[in-house]
């Protein structure tokens, strides 16, 4: 046997930390709620969608949610573009055919009142617009849910990229020190003095329309200006770990530099990084929303919270728009912050003491 941990078995310290996290009720409940919301956003197509869940037509089963596009002619309607599933119940009225729509039968990009004037419409449970529609007749709940998913994808990629760059560079700076450390530090100082917002504005105006300002370009710009914070933390953490005796012991044994970094220093520094993740998520959602709000974020018609918030503030006489977007942002950020606090408390067990 090689004394390697089987995958399912966690280090007992980590297990203890997780147990402590579960005991912090506020954080744990927030974690459960947020996990639920994330799950809902992942299966958003089944809940909020203008495609039907199931269509029973002439003895055949259709599941259009994730499948190929069906034209109107497929279901006996006289057109060749994608079928509007909301037309089907009327067409199937006298037959054995039937159709099952999701609870909210609207897509995020769909104009729900085709042919009518563009204006925000208040919540209407009968029409299944639970949060109303925005100024171009799109369902707000659909936009919120798909916008949340975009924000999550953005945050996940943001964390992966900033941490990858920050941890790698910071660790190298801390481990090798001397001129390399000095050089990178100066570069970072200059880099972080470039005004981020201007760069976003310039890039937004320079990006050729054929490519468009996509989620990925936006991500790259934000990451380019956000990785520096992590290098500072990793640099000092690596400096600290490098000076500890277990690293000296490995050096005396003749361990190679990669071995010391990957087997000794990284596992000991990364454990604290977990506590930063929730706050980074909050930051990422915040910046994406802010950029969208200012109009430098995701290109229309991508569903996004910032864009909804902007609509809401310019249509204050339709308060359901701003209320929905604002509530969604506040709830998610509060949940993330609660989780972050709980994680920090669970992973950093400084018992509070007071003296008389």
């Amino acid at each position: 046997m090689e004394f390697r941990l089987p995958r399912f078995q966690l280090n007992p310290i980590t297990r203890k930390k997780l147990r402590r996290f579960r005991q912090i009720r506020r954080g744990y409940i927030a974690f459960l709620i947020l996990s639920g919301l994330i799950f809902l956003s992942l299966i958003a197509e089944l809940l909020v969608n203008n495609r039907a869940l199931i269509v029973r037509y002439e003895g055949a089963w259709y599941f259009p949610t994730y499948g190929a596009i069906h034209t109107g002619r497929d279901f006996g309607l006289p057109y060749d573009y994608e079928v509007n599933y909301k037309d089907l119940p009327a067409a199937f009225a006298q037959t054995k055919n039937w159709v099952l729509m999701p609870p909210v039968p609207y897509g995020a990009l769909e104009n729900c009142y085709p042919g009518q004037t563009f204006k925000p419409r208040p919540p209407d449970a009968g029409k299944r617009h639970f949060l109303g529609t925005d100024q171009i007749n799109r369902d707000i709940l659909a936009r919120l849910l798909y916008g949340f998913r975009n924000a999550l994808i953005f945050s996940a990629c943001f964390i992966a990229l900033t941490y990858l760059i920050g941890i790698t560079l910071g660790c190298l700076m801390g481990y090798f020190g001397s001129w390399f450390d000095l050089l990178v530090q100066r570069v970072i100082e200059i880099w972080s003095n470039i005004p981020f917002l201007f760069v976003v504005i310039i890039v937004a105006s320079v990006v050729p329309p054929s490519i468009g300002m996509s989620l990925w370009i936006l991500l790259l710009i934000v990451v380019a200006f956000s990785w520096t914070g992590m290098t500072y933390y990793m640099r000092s953490a690596t400096y600290r770990e490098k000076a500890r005796d277990y690293v000296h012991a490995a050096q005396v044994l003749g361990a190679s530099t990669p071995r010391i970094i990957f087997s000794h220093i990284l596992p000991n520094t990364l454990s604290t990084i977990v506590t930063f993740i929730p706050f980074t998520v909050a930051g990422a959602i915040n910046s994406l929303t802010a950029l969208d709000f200012l109009g430098f974020g995701l290109p229309p018609p991508t569903p996004s919270w910032g864009e909804l918030l902007r609509q809401g503030t310019s249509n204050l006489n339709s308060p359901w728009i701003v209320a929905s977007a604002f509530t969604a942002i506040v709830v998610v950020l509060i949940l993330v912050t609660f989780i972050g606090e709980a994680v920090r408390e669970a992973f950093d067990p400084k018992k509070f003491t007071t003296y008389q």
Partner: protein, 328 residues
């Protein structure tokens, strides 16, 4: 007798349940004499000191029962406000790590005169004057200049002198010194021990000296209390205790330390095993699982019996102990 601890029980609430760190400890501290409390980590010696000073970490630490008699009052139940006056005024404390006992952002003079302003005078200039005098007394050269300096500008030995000056500022009746020389080098330790002795001769306070170093105990103390796993194993006058240890733990400790006179590279007699954790103490005598002389009776807690004048031991077999072989 200035201070008397009677049947002190101190507990800590932890994740693993309530742990009894000090379990029924009694001893007196006498004027002009030095009482040593010796034991290994986790034996409860520091918790005893913190209990007396009422500085237990809150909210986990509690004095469960027993009394700490000082000047006709019971410190265990004294209101916080009154305790504050006694602490630093009539009972001084010297800590192990002088750097943590001093506030790094305030000058030496300011910290020392604060003690005088709290307990002795309202006049700031007078307090500063007293501080200079006190620093001179603890052997700090050119104290008029030193009062303007900050803790990090002083060496470890000098810092400990400042801590001693603060502890002795108000001419306390008792000084509690918790490992005062552990963080210091041997030659500096000699300076500090010498200073504490000469200040005691001059001011006549009782000293309670907590240490793990039997050498320091032998050098400094009149009486000794040996603690093991929260209880007193043995107590008595220093000469008697070192010449005729009447508890297997004391005897084992004294035999196991290498001395300048032990034959070189010889096997040292050892105490097997290690101190049990407070969460899993054996019933009865707490030393039994390490004791080479264990008998069935040891599963019953032995009482602290008088074995000689002022000399007590908590061992069922103290009478036969001198005839038992050192390493069976």
């Amino acid at each position: 007798m200035v201070l008397e601890v009677r049947d002190l029980v101190t507990t800590f609430d932890t994740d693993a349940g309530t742990l009894t760190a000090v379990d029924g400890v009694s001893f007196p501290v006498r004027r002009g004499r030095t009482l040593g409390i010796v034991g290994e980590s986790g034996c409860g010696k520091s918790v005893t000191a913190l209990s007396i000073m009422r500085l237990l970490p809150q909210p986990m630490g509690k004095i469960r029962s027993g009394s700490i008699l000082f000047d006709g009052k019971d410190l265990a139940t004294l209101p916080t406000e009154e305790m504050r006056k006694i602490r630093g005024g009539r009972i001084g404390m010297i800590f192990q790590e002088p750097m943590t006992a001093l506030n790094p952002v305030h000058s030496i003079g300011r910290q020392l005169s604060e003690v005088f302003l709290l307990h002795r005078t309202r006049n700031e200039r007078e307090a500063l004057q007293m501080s200079v005098e006190m620093l001179r007394k603890v052997g700090i050269p050119s104290p008029e200049i030193r009062i303007g300096e900050y803790p990090h500008q002083l060496s470890g030995g000098m810092r400990q002198r400042v801590v001693i000056a603060m502890a002795l500022a108000c001419k306390p009746d008792v000084v509690i010194a918790d490992e005062p020389t552990t963080a210091l080098d041997v030659t500096i330790q000699a300076q500090i021990l010498e200073l504490m002795q000469s200040l005691q001769d001059e001011m006549g306070m009782g000293i309670m000296l907590i240490t793990h170093d039997l050498g320091v105990i032998a050098d400094m103390c009149d009486d000794v209390v040996v603690m093991y796993a929260g209880r007193i194993a043995e107590s008595g006058p220093v000469q008697t205790l070192f010449s005729t240890p009447s508890h297997p733990y004391t005897r084992g400790l004294l035999n196991s330390i290498p001395r300048l006179t032990t034959p070189r590279k010889s096997r040292l007699p050892i105490i097997e095993g290690m101190v049990p954790s407070l969460a899993e103490l054996p019933a009865g005598c707490r030393f039994q699982n390490r004791c080479p002389y264990r008998i069935d009776a040891c599963s019953v807690q032995p009482a602290l019996e008088e074995v000689g004048p002022g000399h007590r031991s908590a061992c069922h077999r103290w009478r036969e102990l001198p005839s038992l072989p050192v390493s069976p």
